[in-house]
């Protein structure tokens, strides 16, 4: 549950989610679940004219996400490395 844990720590921060259909959505991370489904609030797209029906919030299914661009200062890379190591060595998995 590494990435679920990781995204939980980023709740409330601004992220940009790039989907597999090449759509990029910028918004504030509202919540995430174990399937890495993402809820964003206050979203904006590059081309608002093309997507007028984009309201303030959206729910993105985890499987369609290609990238998530994060703010660098919110990430503790050392901790992330450690958690990756623990994840790989955990006996319960």
């Amino acid at each position: 549950m590494l990435f679920y844990s990781f995204f939980k720590s980023l709740v409330g921060k601004d992220v940009v989610v790039e989907l597999k259909n090449d759509l990029s959505i910028c918004g504030t991370l509202h919540s995430v679940d174990q399937y890495l489904n993402i809820k964003l609030t206050d979203i904006s797209v590059t081309d608002t004219e093309k997507y007028p029906h984009m309201l303030k919030n959206c729910f993105i299914r985890g499987s369609v996400v290609r990238y998530v661009q994060l703010p660098a200062d919110e990430v503790d890379t050392q901790l992330l490395q450690d958690s990756a190591r623990k994840e790989s060595s955990a006996p319960t998995r």
Partner: protein
């Protein structure tokens, strides 16, 4: 495996029914004989234990849905029930549920047709009399369970009450309460047309329709102002109700599947609220009543959840339809205002087009979310949720420190907070303009793909090098680096374990894990069928009960040995990971327990400085962080240690006559270039002075040291840019020190003094 398959045996040799050669034709022939809705395919609804099996339930629902698709049946029943005076007008077809504008008696047509349909459904229901029995048993089961289900009974009454409260303009209304109380299982009329667009949440539409979820809060009674509704609308509640009830979260379903619930499952807090407000319920009723039958209302089922940003194309189509519906929609929206529901009036105006908003209150949504979250609850977050747990802890620690340290600048902090808040607020008010990522000093912008114009991705091809002689070298290098990395990872794993031993979070979580395992074993013990298995479980239980005592020392010693075994120690230091490993390891290496290892370690570090130093100063600058540890170590070292350290730095070439001439190793030169090296030398000097003054250094040792001093000063002269040490030599110490050694010429001495001595002290 199913027992039968279209009435054929499922065994491989076919048993008795060996098919003739032309298997297909006979198989298809038999299709006419078999009834698609037979019990064997869809199961019976005899006992309530079936309810526990969701598969069977689903089959039942599918059966009912299937059967409703058969327009034949409906047509038949309708033709049976058709009223005399309408026999001429009504053209009953499979499109009976669709909007047919070309009708002479628009109003009466629809109302009559629908009433007859209702009767048809009733007959349909009674033909499946088993359903009611099972429904009753479902009800019982559900009633047994906790608070949420107590709503069911009052709900039933409210159903009828709600309907009765409506204007009794249509006498047929009176039939309906009864029908409702018999739990109409009318499948949604629009369901067939909309198939895939069914409400995403609902799995078992029909059996649970009569029971609303607990705490269905935001329902409101429409004010009396709603009464003057077109009478022809009253009939629609019947087909609509089941669909509406379907919209309710499948709470009863959860109830039914008791044993499958997650271990820590508690009934959602929202369930306890039994203030089943009839208000809202009747709002829904009137919403149904108010829908114009002339409009495509069937297509509006099931309603899409309102708060999704992305609208499915089907939904868009429906929205168009509902636009036509707008006058009524608006009306009913207004009624919801007046009924004092939770929504604000401003929002309502924005959502005029959406008739199906507000089906779930915030509490209900939270309830659903809680159910999802409950599944993720573990007793051991340190293991399952490592990043988040530790991150939060670190953050809270840093916050506490900040609060402690910055009490003086508190108004500043407050101001900062306010600024950030203001920014946040502004963001929510004005739509944020998103610009894609832009890099400095780059030509052009990042390609931003869209759905209509996808981004081109550069393909990478492996280009084989022209020269074959290079490739083995390259391969060897990559292999070596990979080996180093692998070794580092192994050491890291050990380090993490070592760190955990003293970590309170880890300790508590391990305890918790052990308790959970013990409980699990006990449960297994109870359920174990044979005594041998019981023995096995007991054995495991005892094994797990013993607390594992781990020694931190063992781990540390393993790590340090692993580090020092490597010949090319510098390869570790070249990689950032390696430096971090040493940095994290050093706090555990106390001089008393790890003396010799530390000596070895530091000498190697200093030796590899020329190789590693440039990379470090360019990038990470981690070596200076090692300095405090070095200082700590040196302050408890002996002269021998000091000399051991510098021995590697200075290559002593014994010339035949002149022992003083030293060919200084390149290392020494490099030392003076890097801040870490220089700081190390400074510390060494201070220590040496201390040792000499306390008479811990022999004559020979002092000589060796003075030689070193000379070479050091020579190097300082030679090097163009001398780094400044992290700590300077206090001048008194320096003066004292230099006076001991007469061989240090004055200019060299002044040079040293200039760079390394603290002039203030």
């Amino acid at each position: 495996m199913a027992n039968t398959f279209f009435d054929f045996e499922t065994s491989l040799n076919n048993g008795e029914n060996i098919l003739p050669p032309d298997e297909e034709t006979t198989a298809w022939k038999n299709e006419e004989e078999y009834d698609a809705l037979n019990d064997e395919t869809f199961g019976t609804l005899e006992d309530s234990s079936n309810l526990e099996d969701w598969e069977q339930q689903h089959e039942q629902f599918a059966e009912i849905a299937e059967s409703s698709k058969h327009s034949e049946q409906i047509e038949n029943s309708i033709s049976q029930l058709v009223l005399d005076n309408l026999s001429d007008h009504i053209t009953v077809s499979s499109s009976v549920w669709s909007y047919t504008p070309a009708s002479k008696n628009g109003e009466t047509f629809n109302s009559e047709i629908l009433s007859s349909l209702q009767k048809a459904s009733k007959s349909f229901i009674t033909s499946h009399s088993d359903n009611t029995k099972s429904n009753a048993s479902i009800l019982q089961q559900l009633n047994k369970s906790a608070p949420p289900m107590t709503i069911s009974q009052p709900k039933k009454n409210l159903y009828s009450r709600g309907i009765r409260e409506e204007p009794n303009k249509n006498p047929q209304l009176q039939q309906q309460p009864k029908q409702l109380q018999t739990k109409p299982l009318m499948p949604p009329p629009a369901g067939h047309h909309q198939g895939p667009m069914y409400h995403p949440m609902v799995q078992h539409p029909i059996q649970n329709t009569r029971l609303p979820p607990p705490g269905l809060q935001p329902m409101g009674i429409p004010p009396p102002g709603m009464r003057p509704m077109p009478p022809h609308m009253n009939h629609h509640h019947h087909p609509m109700l089941p669909s509406l009830m379907r919209m309710m979260p499948p709470h009863p379903h959860f109830m039914a599947n008791g044993p499958q619930r997650p271990p820590g499952f508690m009934y959602p807090p929202g369930a306890g609220q039994n203030q089943f407000p009839r208000k809202h319920f009747i709002t829904i009723m009137t919403k149904l009543f108010s829908i114009d039958p002339k409009v495509n209302h069937p297509f509006n089922f099931p309603p899409p959840p309102r708060n999704l940003g992305n609208v499915h194309p089907n939904m868009q189509q429906r929205n168009v339809h509902s636009l036509q519906n707008s006058p009524h929609g608006h009306q009913q929206q207004r009624t919801r205002y007046d009924s004092g529901s939770y929504r604000q009036q401003q929002k309502e105006r924005d959502e005029i087009r959406d008739e199906y908003a507000g089906l779930m209150s915030l509490r209900e949504k939270q309830w659903l979310l809680n159910i999802q979250m409950l599944q993720l609850n573990t007793g051991t977050p340190y293991f399952d949720d490592y990043y988040y747990t530790v991150f939060k802890e670190k953050k809270s620690k840093s916050n506490k420190e900040n609060l402690g340290d910055r009490n003086t600048s508190y108004p500043n902090n407050k101001r900062q907070h306010r600024n950030s808040d203001r920014q946040e607020n502004q963001n929510t008010l004005t739509p944020r303009v998103y610009t894609p990522l832009q890099f400095e000093n780059s030509l052009g912008k990042l390609q931003c793909g869209s759905v209509t114009a996808p981004r081109k991705i550069i393909d990478m091809d492996i280009v084989t090098p022209d020269k074959d002689t290079d490739s083995p070298q390259v391969a060897r290098d990559t292999r070596r680096t990979k080996q180093v990395l692998l070794k580092l990872e192994a050491l890291y794993a050990l380090l993490l374990k070592a760190e955990d031993i003293r970590n309170p979070l880890y300790i508590s979580n391990v305890e918790k894990l052990r308790e959970i395992k013990q409980k699990q074993r006990l449960r297994e013990l109870e359920m174990a069928p044979t005594p041998e298995q019981k023995q096995e479980i007991l054995r495991l239980f005892k094994l797990e009960s013993e607390p594992i005592v781990e020694n931190q020392y063992d781990y540390i010693i393993k790590i340090i040995q692993g580090l020092l075994q490597e010949e090319k120690f510098s390869s570790f230091l070249n990689i950032r990971k390696g430096k971090m490993l040493i940095l994290r390891l050093l706090p555990y290496l106390t001089t008393d327990t790890f003396g010799p290892q530390l000596l070895e370690l530091w000498s190697r570090v200093l030796l590899s400085l020329p190789i590693v130093g440039r990379r470090d100063t360019a990038g990470d600058n981690i070596l200076p962080k090692l300095f405090p540890f070095f200082k700590r170590y040196i302050q408890s070292s002996t002269m021998t240690d000091v000399l051991d350290i510098i021995a590697g730095l200075v290559e002593v070439v014994k010339q035949e006559n002149n022992r003083i001439n030293l060919l200084v190793n390149l290392n020494n030169q490099e030392l003076t270039v890097y801040p870490f090296g220089v700081s190390a030398l400074v510390v060494l000097l201070i220590r040496t002075e201390f040792l000499i003054s306390s008479d811990s250094a022999s004559e020979k040792q002092q000589n060796a040291w003075s030689n070193f001093l000379q070479s050091w000063s020579q190097q300082t002269e030679a090097v163009a840019k001398v780094a400044s040490p992290l700590e300077l030599i206090p001048s008194q110490i320096f003066i004292k020190h230099c006076n001991r050694f007469n061989n240090l010429k004055s200019d060299k001495r002044s040079l040293l003094e200039k760079h390394f001595v603290d002039s203030n002290n």
